[in-house]
Amino acid sequence: MDLLGHLRHFRAVAEERHFGRAAERLRIAQPSLSQRIQRLERELGVTLFDRGPRGVELTPAGRLLLAEAEETLDSAARLLATAADLRSGRAGTLRAAVPPELGPATLAALLTGFETASPGTRLELRELPVAAVVRELAQHTVDVAVVRHPCPADGLAFGPVLHQPLGALLAAGSPYADRPELAVAELTGLRLVLFPRATAPALYDEVLTTLTRHGCTPGAVVDPPGPDVAGALVLTGSAIALVPRTTPPPGTVWRPLTGTPLAWRTSTAWPAGRGGPAVRLFAQAAHEALTGPGGLLPQPPNRPLYPRPAMEFPL
């Protein structure tokens, strides 16, 4: 029996919960799909579906086997992808991803560093936001990445976490512009620009919590629809943007925040257990590029952590 083919059909019926719709999706005749499922049930010695007049439903045994089938199909897909890489000579290719706004200088240092360390490896580099990169790391379509935290850790291993302090980008004519640095608490009541919350809700909420922790209750927080709107709001003096150190666009200035209370956290990440030599060299080159030209700082000393009873486990 062609097990993988039968499992694919099993999965389609389980997803559609309907033989007719599954057959349509698979572009095969419904009777032959029914026969294949029956054949699989015979082979496994287990009834996979309860058949009703309105459709089909997985039996408890079917549900258990569906989870196994999905795992089997996923690992078969990975096997085929690896074979394709070997066939096309792409086995010497490292697929890497970086987050947006890393800066060209940092990226250049990373590329040069990796090329020097691993001259034989072809590097395929893409720019991906955190949600997409986590998905691709899980599917093994990206081997190693530079990610922003908070980043879901399921199945990933991380390199050391680096900090990129945020400062205030404001209009050159602003009354705050002639100060060498700003205290976060002074931003209370002002309009602040972050990034669209949906792109990284966990980070967005972390920034707001950190602002309140340091005495800042913003008057409003603007979710900019795009970088141009964010820039325009800053230029008109109606809002202050919180961004990492940058070459300020004309008409604006960037000022650090006293005591660097806010930072983006960045590290390298790869699928746990798949940190081969090329991944290690890339992670190392990325770390050096980020701390060198990138200007990212090592993790500051740990803040105190006070357990709360509702957390249910001891620290």
Partner: protein, 327 residues
Amino acid sequence: MTSDRTGANRTGVERTGAGRTAVDRAAVDRAPYGRAARTRIAAAFADAGVTGWLHARDLDTGAEIGLGADTVVSTASVHKVCLLVTLYREAAAGRIDLTRQVDVPAAGRTPGGTGLAAMLDAARLSLRDLAYLTAAVSDNTAADTLWDQIGLDTVNRTMADLGLSRTVAVHKLRDLIAALAEDTGPDSPVDPAVVARLRVLDPAFTNHSTPRDMTTLLAALWHGDACPGDHGAALRRLLGLQVWPHRLASGFPYDDVRVHGKTGTLPTLRHEVGVVEYPDGGRYALAVFTRAAATTITLPAADAAIGTTARLAVDALRARAATGATG
């Protein structure tokens, strides 16, 4: 307005009592309300920066809503429900006396921030009072004292007897906490690289279950199958005495709605399973498991997402019952 209408129609829904009505499950999952509710639930999880798995079950009609309902998850302290159901089931079978007193010495306690785990002096409590502390404040010492009395095997066998095929306890809390401490070592528990290596987050390593298994267990408890008679009532009372307001209960800020639950927490994991009861007789078993992207210990948005998604699921089940929809 809306609630009046829902309530009026709700009482018109025929109840089977036993809650074992055959439901056309395929029709349930195809129904537009189910799809819309699942979309809203997924959006609420994403909005809170968590990955979530949920199963909700109308205890009387059997109607259900799920999102990753068969995903195996690390249960953390949610597994205390399995322990308590087993304890009360053993008592109902006459194999254990819940009023028996047990010594809890001052030394050698399983650590934790509540109850006996946080108290300093030797104590002597009945099994049922240890059960109260386990349910009300997730007392790790009280729970391990009970685990030691009845054993992991009895709990696992009971879960299998109740039809929970994917619910297994492999260690007591002291071993779970020891593994957590060993993996953390001297490093910061909020460092993402540390969290990534914690074995207790991996369901293959630690106590585990699925959202659907958990609502199966709660349904058995509410229907009197798991712990017959007064013993079931006594355990349902305990689950209603849990003190935490921040998760499941936060989604039902209504004086006339009763919430029972048991939380579970480990770094980045926040869970709660429970039953909510509406005054019109609607009863719903809920199991919500989450894993946050942020490693922060205190994360109210993730806690609240458990309540929000549970309410979205209950609202969908109630809307379905109110309109008498069958798919």
